[in-house]
């Protein structure tokens, strides 16, 4: 329990600091943010209106506490470019990004786990070494280029795939898959490469432990040693990596949505930045980061439940 409380306090501190950074960064903008947003030819009354609308004529701490209050209630002010609440814009785009990230995560797990096990069981054999080499290349390829190559060699070769745009799940499952599989694969491949290495190392570390020698010497079959003992125990450290991968997958959607013209949160963020729509940028950054922090918090708690030793540290 102490551990959970400590982690919870850390969670709150992190979210607070993240909010201070996200809020503070936009205060160091050179010059007048309102003037930058409206352009140089804006007339003074327009500037004054926007300034009071955004609350920029009030003290900084008041602006911050207001913004934080909004954050807690889900109201993050209005987008300048779209003149709509940031919340509504975000929720419009969320299904696309969530489906993309979810599908990518499933692909990562489905491929990297068996691949890591396979490599670990064939440690230092040719297949293991070639997999390690291939995954190194997988980590070095920029994801957006990978997406372009997938478009060229898969998307354009098979009529099933749509290489741009999005079809909602509710409309057609096959349609959604035709728009999401390639981008999800693009996000997944570098993460498969990373996770593959963790799975492999984690299994190899377990195999060295004394209990494995004991159960082997008792005559347990290699199959049972692997699946009943080693695998279960080696999945626990991988759980922490899972949080890391979630963050990378979410970050990956931002770029890959551009490659495949998917109307998700990433595309909204890029539009917001290009239009210097700062309330929208702040809102998106804050929500994505808090989501990632929360996922990591839950992973940590789950970890401490599965491996009670961690609570003592």
């Amino acid at each position: 329990m102490m551990y959970i409380i400590r982690r919870f306090i850390l969670l709150i501190t992190t979210i607070l600091l993240v909010s201070v950074i996200t809020f503070g960064v936009f205060q160091i903008l050179p010059g007048d943010p309102v003037r930058t947003m409206l352009g140089t030819e804006a007339d003074p009354t327009q500037i004054e209106n926007l300034r009071s609308e955004l609350g920029l004529n009030r003290p900084l701490y008041e602006q911050y506490t207001d913004w934080m209050k909004g954050l807690l209630t889900g109201e993050l002010g209005n987008s300048i470019r779209f003149s709509m609440p940031v919340k509504d814009l975000l929720f419009d785009r969320l299904p696309v990004t969530m489906s993309l990230a979810g599908l990518a995560l499933v692909i990562v797990l489905l491929i990297s786990l068996p691949l890591g096990m396979f490599a670990a069981r064939r440690q230092n054999k040719f297949s293991d070494m070639s997999l390690s080499t291939v995954t190194q290349v997988g980590m070095a390829i920029p994801s957006f280029w990978l997406g372009m190559i997938l478009i060229l060699y898969v998307g354009l070769q098979f009529s099933f795939f749509k290489i741009s745009g999005y079809i909602p799940w509710t409309q057609s499952v096959a349609g959604a898959l035709s728009t999401l599989v390639l981008p999800a694969l693009t996000i997944a491949i570098p993460q498969i490469a990373v996770n593959f290495r963790y799975v492999r190392t984690s299994i190899l570390e377990q195999v060295q432990l004394d209990y494995v020698r004991t159960i082997r010497s008792k005559g347990m079959s290699e199959q049972n040693v692997m699946y009943k003992h080693v695998l279960k125990n080696s999945m626990i450290p991988i759980l922490t990596v899972f949080g890391l991968i979630m963050a990378e997958v979410v970050a990956g959607t931002i770029i890959v949505e551009q490659v495949f013209s998917l109307p998700g949160v990433g595309q909204l963020l890029i539009t917001a930045i290009s239009n210097r729509d700062f309330p929208l940028v702040q809102g998106i950054v804050m929500y994505i980061t808090v989501a990632v922090v929360m996922i990591n918090f839950m992973v940590d708690i789950l970890y401490s439940v599965l491996d009670p030793r961690i609570r003592l540290r």
Partner: protein, 281 residues
């Protein structure tokens, strides 16, 4: 020789291969960069519309882009951008990372707590999100991109430096230095820092690689390096419109990024094995 012995030989060989290939790649790109200051086969920015989107030939090694510019020359010039952003990022990340991590680790107490919680908060942002937010504030361009990526690189280097300082601050040589009255900053940066510099160097090679990938990503999104400066990421963005008709256009910059980043990864792996032999197991 048993199979195990053979495999051990191959493993040792592979380690060297990592080092050799990594070094060759980086030196190769460095040479290309130096040459590009004096010479490129064609002018980097001069447009030649009749020659647009030509496939690779002896005259245009990697073909031409949609304005008839020589892709090979632009790739050469692009190494300058890649190295400039990479080096500046590492420089900013290392200076502030070492300062913050060093002070936190050496002084300890609540200063340590405050500094490291700040670093945790910076690390809580997914890298690209923080980069995009900072670029939104600073504006695009080579220097601004490097500043944004440098800030992102600080926490990782600070953590490594801190753990090194924590390990060393109570050792006998530090105590001896304290007893003869060496000033704290001198103990920190003349005595402890050289002892942990190898770990920091490994961390900076990884930073270099991720900075190059991130710069390419930002430039691809149109928020990083701006034209007419040739950037590989920007070239990839431009090439996407001609993916079908001119696939060579996308291969050159994509391949350049991948090979250089791969070389840096291989080098950092090899360095890590040299410095920390335990990780060999």
């Amino acid at each position: 020789m048993s199979e195990v012995d053979t495999m051990k030989h191959i493993q040792r060989y592979m380690k060297n291969i990592n080092l050799i290939i990594g070094l060759l790649v980086i030196i190769g790109f460095l040479i290309i960069m130096i040459i590009s200051f004096f010479y490129t086969p064609h002018d980097v920015n001069s447009m030649n519309i009749p020659q647009k989107l030509r496939s690779p030939s002896s005259d245009y090694l990697f073909g031409t882009d949609e304005f008839g510019r020589d892709i090979f020359s632009r790739i050469m010039k692009g190494t300058q951008t890649a190295f400039a952003v990479g080096l500046l990022t590492v420089f900013i990340g290392a200076i502030f990372g070492i300062l913050i991590g060093g002070i936190a680790g050496y002084v300890g107490g609540w200063i340590d707590e405050i500094f490291m919680r700040m670093m945790d908060a910076l690390m809580a942002f997914p890298g690209i999100i923080l980069a995009l937010m900072l670029v939104a504030v600073f504006g695009p361009g080579i220097v601004n991109t490097a500043i944004a990526l440098g800030i992102i690189a600080i926490p990782a280097i600070a953590r490594i430096t801190r753990s090194g300082f924590v390990q060393h601050r109570d050792t006998e040589y530090v105590l001896a230095a304290k007893l003869i009255g060496v000033k704290p900053y001198s103990i920190m940066f003349r005595h402890i820092l050289p002892n942990i510099s190898s770990q920091i160097i490994v961390a900076t090679t990884v930073t270099f690689a991720t900075a190059m990938l991130a710069e390419a990503a930002l430039s691809y999104l149109g928020l990083g390096v701006q034209p007419p400066n040739p950037s590989w990421g920007r070239m990839l963005k431009d090439s996407q419109a001609y993916l079908v008709g001119a696939p060579w256009y996308t291969y050159a910059p994509g391949g350049a990024i991948t090979v250089l980043v791969l070389g840096l990864y291989m080098l950092s792996n090899a360095l890590r094995d040299f410095i920390d032999p335990r990780s060999k197991a």
